[in-house]
Amino acid sequence: MKHVTLEGISKSYDSTKAVDEVHFNVEQGELFGLIGPDGAGKTTLFRILTTLILPDAGRAFVNGHHVVKDYKKIRKEVGYMPGKFSLYQDLTVEENLSFFASIFNTTIRENYELVKDIYVQIEPFKDRRAGKLSGGMKQKLALCCALIHRPVVLFLDEPTTGVDAVSRREFWEMLKSLKKQGITILVSTPYMDEADLCEKIALIQSGNIMTVDTPERIVSDFPDPVYAVQSDNMSRLLRELRGSDQVKSANAFGEFHHITFSGGTESMDRFLKGLREPMLIKSISPTIEDCFIHLMAAHD
């Protein structure tokens, strides 16, 4: 069953198109990632789905409810965690949680089971004001508050931005266990390496969805073999790679450059022969980022 449906959703701010005819579906109980750089339109999509703003065109449904006509029903059934910490900094951890429970007509005790795993980590600080918590703690509290009314669909807007690596990993673990409870989760992130943690992802760039699929299938759809190369002078190497006719694409990825060749192994041989200095080259399987860059170039 489809839990979230978008049909041709568009939204502009003044003359800038934030999202442009977006279509995708999210199945019930899916952990769905919306992946794209800052300014791609992720937050706009989330704000439309959580009924905070109205789309200019198109239709969208959350748990079967129309986002414009049935916004009241949606507000009862979804949980939303904005990208910016949006709880009351001057209320304590416990006060925040019980406030959000009470406005949904429930109590902490009633849904304690759902948030227990997360809440126990911040419970020692329950009398501390939310503003005085560390970044990772704030994140956990915000997640608890978004979950306390047992939402059917959970929207998490860049939950891991600005969070340290350990907390990020912990956060994804929490999402996986929530998924087991049957909650449909939409999460947005600018980090490509988090794509593999989702069941299904949509790659978004400049308001356009470039592809929607499982991470595995997106990777296997990558048309060319990818190689990682390394040399003593990486920037000179990159210039050389980009200047060569044999090289189709060359992008810097930390320690390595990822490249593809325009004419298969033949061009690789030709390129390697023409090399002036030693270079380490190895065959790798493409990452989501490779796919993203590839799709971006194809879209332009």
Partner: protein
């Protein structure tokens, strides 16, 4: 209904946790009511007087003695040249220069009339006005005295004279504070009501908490009521401290009229003024913006309310502005009920106008709130 209670609970939690706001609520009325009435005292004393006495006669001396003994004037210097007198005004060492011309006494006796000259420093308009008026009054009295002196006794009956004896109603001693304190109380609740509401709502926008609230089933009117009710209560509380404690025990002001009537009007007024705060919050995105906007509106409201200057002496366009200003009406009601003991029938039109203001500000705010969302 239950949602509203939870919202109020949260709101009061936050207000009572904010040490600065809490102190403001208690201390602001007390301090403002102690300081402002003392400072806003328009009684003019110690007018600096320089006398240019070019006559040096006994009449001139009598006049000067009479002026200085009135208690309003402080004799700075007694000189001969007019130029020197004007220098005193230029250096702001004198407020008024009185020039007694040469042959004052001789011409007065011989020609039965003489002139004295007044030079008034009008940089401070009030002081110039009042000082000039006092001085004219004293000279007028002096004139009367010498006329009586010259007149042969029996003819006293033949010249009829009207003497004015005035009686100041509602404030017999013309005590300035009795007049100012009720007005300043209005100023207090106005500031608290408008600033706190506007800031509080915009804070939710600025911090982003409104985002989280908007995704919940909280209804808009619940949210707005949850914001208005706490400040309505605080406004009532602050007013009570001011009226029932500070005004009563420090200034001895006990309202002549009905307290319930006064509170009834306050309750309505607060709704109107909180509506202004709400309206400002719908137009601003940051606390800084809302602060500037409320400040601008409140400056005009307060300066054009007849608190410091009398409405009747304003130019017609300013009187029109004062009439579209809720603060004006509450100050009038305060003074009428506290000083005069006016009853409902005397201020029923004020009630009607305030109902209009309350409806206008709140509906405008709600309308605008809807549009931006």
């Amino acid at each position: 209904m239950k949602t509203l209670i939870f919202l109020l609970e949260k709101e009061f939690h936050q207000i009572f946790r904010n040490a600065i706001i809490l102190r403001m609520i208690i201390l602001m009325p007390v301090i403002q009511l102690i300081v402002l009435p003392l400072a806003a005292d328009f009684e003019i004393k110690d007018i600096k007087l320089v006398v240019v006495d070019q006559d040096r006669s006994s009449y001139a001396r009598d006049l000067i003695n009479k002026i200085t003994s009135s208690g309003y004037f402080k004799l700075v210097d007694c000189i001969i040249s007019t130029e020197q007198g004007l220098e005193y005004i230029e250096s702001d060492e004198a407020d008024v220069v009185l020039e007694v011309p040469p042959r004052f006494e001789r011409d007065l006796i011989r020609e039965r009339q003489q002139e004295v000259y007044l030079y008034i420093n009008a940089i401070n308009g009030t002081k110039a006005n009042v000082g000039g008026a006092y001085l004219s009054q004293v000279i007028h009295d002096f004139n009367g005295e010498i006329r009586a002196e010259w007149r042969p006794l029996p003819s006293q009956r033949s010249s009829p004279k009207i003497e004015i004896v005035s009686n100041n109603w509602f404030n017999p001693l013309l005590n300035y504070r009795v007049f100012m304190v009720p007005g300043i109380l209005v100023l207090l609740v106005t500031m608290i009501g408008s600033f706190m509401t506007a800031l509080n709502i915009v804070k939710e926008k600025e911090v982003g908490t409104i985002e989280q609230i908007n995704v919940t089933p909280i209804k808009r009117h619940h949210f707005v009521l949850g914001k208005l009710i706490p400040f309505w209560v605080i406004g009532m509380f602050v007013f009570s401290i001011g009226l029932l404690i500070v005004a009563r025990f420090l200034y001895g002001i006990v309202p002549v009229g009905n307290l319930l009537l006064l509170y009834g009007y306050l309750a309505l007024y607060l709704v109107a003024i909180l509506g202004v705060g709400l309206l400002v919050s719908t137009y601003s995105q940051t606390q800084q913006q809302s602060m500037s906007l409320v400040f601008f509106i409140m400056m005009i409201f307060i300066l054009m309310s007849g608190l410091f200057s009398s409405l009747e002496s304003m130019p017609p366009w300013a009187q029109v502005m004062a009439r579209v200003n809720p603060v004006t009406y509450f100050i009038e009601v305060m003074r009428m009920v506290v000083m005069k003991g006016s009853e409902f029938k005397h201020i029923s039109s004020h009630f009607l106008v305030m109902i209009g203001f309350a409806l206008l500000s709140n509906f405008w705010a709600v309308f605008n709130y809807r549009k931006t969302n």
